[in-house]
Symmetry: C2
Subunit: 287 residues, 2 copies
């Protein structure tokens, strides 16, 4: 997914939101905004939205001195989601098709995203996503890949969403490596956030070595790239992973909600859809 | 009202919206966006939102070659509103307090604004605004000023909204001078748009001589400024007139809906409020 013109105003708003999350005063907010304008002005039009996000949120961290502007928001989201953990487990256990239900819950958790908007209703989303038809449903290919795989690489998205991922991982019945960001960006989960959500109880938690949103392979550590290349099946959560990896092969499965108009158009589904989509293109490694 | 940091992303989106309304292709849209970034980068922080809007929409007209990007949207809005004219008149005629009802309808018509968003439901807004309590209600001062005035200067806002203004003007029972933009900007009403809405049947229609959003007096014609200075009572429609004139004296009465968070905060009312507010500060002329 390339960066569309509609992304420009959105990134400018994200810069301002992030500065405010960090507690920046008016002068710092203005400085962030002006630097964000400069960054957008000199943008390579071929950049993906996560690559721009990396630049924008780097500006916010430098200007405000806040290494993790969303730290408190992430902590609160994780606590809110952990409080639902036993309810989520019960929903899966009582479901006629526990795997599909766990997949739906993992997609529901993807609403915990402070990039497109800072307002969402978590439980209302859970109830909606449990019933909503998939706009893209590569479920059969997903089950087939799952049956054939010895282990799974799972690319995390946001803090709090991690708890929903944990429920899915506990349902998969396969060894899972859970990859989180190498450093804070937006409300994406880092190692600390994943541990706070209890992910180490369900999976091996590793870092991608990069703090860019999504998974920009050339920015990841050699160690992570090795794991990525060897993976038989990869579950990738959220818009940014889709934006950075959607063309990287059919061993990838994207679980997400289409939360902005640009991505919805790219996926070819209405905004607000739930998506289980297999990747396209040739596999860069693996198999 | 000064331009707040939140206005920057909004203006960038407006630039893109306006380019698309004009039928610009991708390259033209990109050119508009980059020039809008430059304009925002070099912004005088003391500018009001309408002053920035003037610059942004000037860029769109120059780059796209469209003298009036919103021409079709304005024509459609006027036709849609004209189709409601007899219903609106009947609502006023049957109302226990026709003046208040006509004021409410004039405020309802203020939803026809393509700056904050391009989506609105006109009739649902009429029904809402007829019942909604005023968040700011300077109705008593308004009635007092009306009783004392020989004539009224009425500052128009958007095409289509003009029809709702006409209903109010026909209820005021005073000679009214209806001032429209000197040239196209956004979906603001020009002379042509006002005549298409039948305003010349209810008022003397004049031009401000300026195409800046709102009423930026130093950009208006000397002739209009003369009328403005002599006016005993001024009714000013919409956010942009409020943003440019709210401190210009108590002979001004602002009728508007708070359609964006920045303005809502400035007025001190929630977003989505209806406002009948007397101006503050000393009167620049008049009386």
């Amino acid at each position: 997914v390339k960066t569309y013109l509609d992304c420009y105003p959105c990134f400018l708003r994200q810069a301002l939101d992030a500065a405010r999350y960090s507690g920046a005063d008016d002068d710092q907010q203005r400085a962030v905004l002006l630097l964000a304008l400069d960054a957008l002005r000199s943008l390579d039009p071929a950049s993906t939205p996560p690559e721009i996000g990396d630049v924008i949120h780097g500006i916010v961290r430098r200007e405000t001195g806040a290494t993790d502007p969303y730290a408190r928001a992430k902590k609160e989201a994780t606590e809110q989601a952990l409080a639902l953990y036993h309810r989520l487990k019960a929903i899966v256990n009582e479901a006629p098709d526990p795997l599909e239900t766990a997949v739906r819950l993992a997609i529901a958790g993807n609403i915990i995203d402070l990039a497109p908007s800072s307002a969402y209703d978590l439980w209302a989303t859970v109830e909606r996503v449990l019933d909503q038809p998939f706009a893209v449903d590569d479920g059969p290919a997903f089950r087939e890949a799952l049956a054939a795989a010895d282990g799974i690489l799972y690319l995390a998205d946001n803090a709090g969403e991690t708890v929903f991922d944990r429920v899915l991982i506990e349902t998969l019945g396969h060894p899972v490596t859970y990859a989180v960001k190498g450093g804070p960006v937006l409300n994406d989960a880092t190692m600390e956030d994943a541990i706070a959500a209890g992910l180490e109880l369900a999976a091996e938690v590793v870092s991608t070595g990069s703090e860019a949103p999504g998974t920009v392979l050339r920015l990841c550590s050699a160690e992570f790239r090795g794991r990525y290349e060897k993976a038989q099946m990869i579950i990738a959560k959220g818009q940014a992973n889709y934006e950075t990896l959607s063309g990287e092969g059919d061993r990838l499965f994207f679980l997400l909600q289409t939360k902005c108009a640009v991505l919805a158009q790219d996926v070819g589904a209405p905004q607000g859809s739930i998506i289980l989509k297999q990747g396209s293109g040739s596999n860069g490694g693996g198999r």
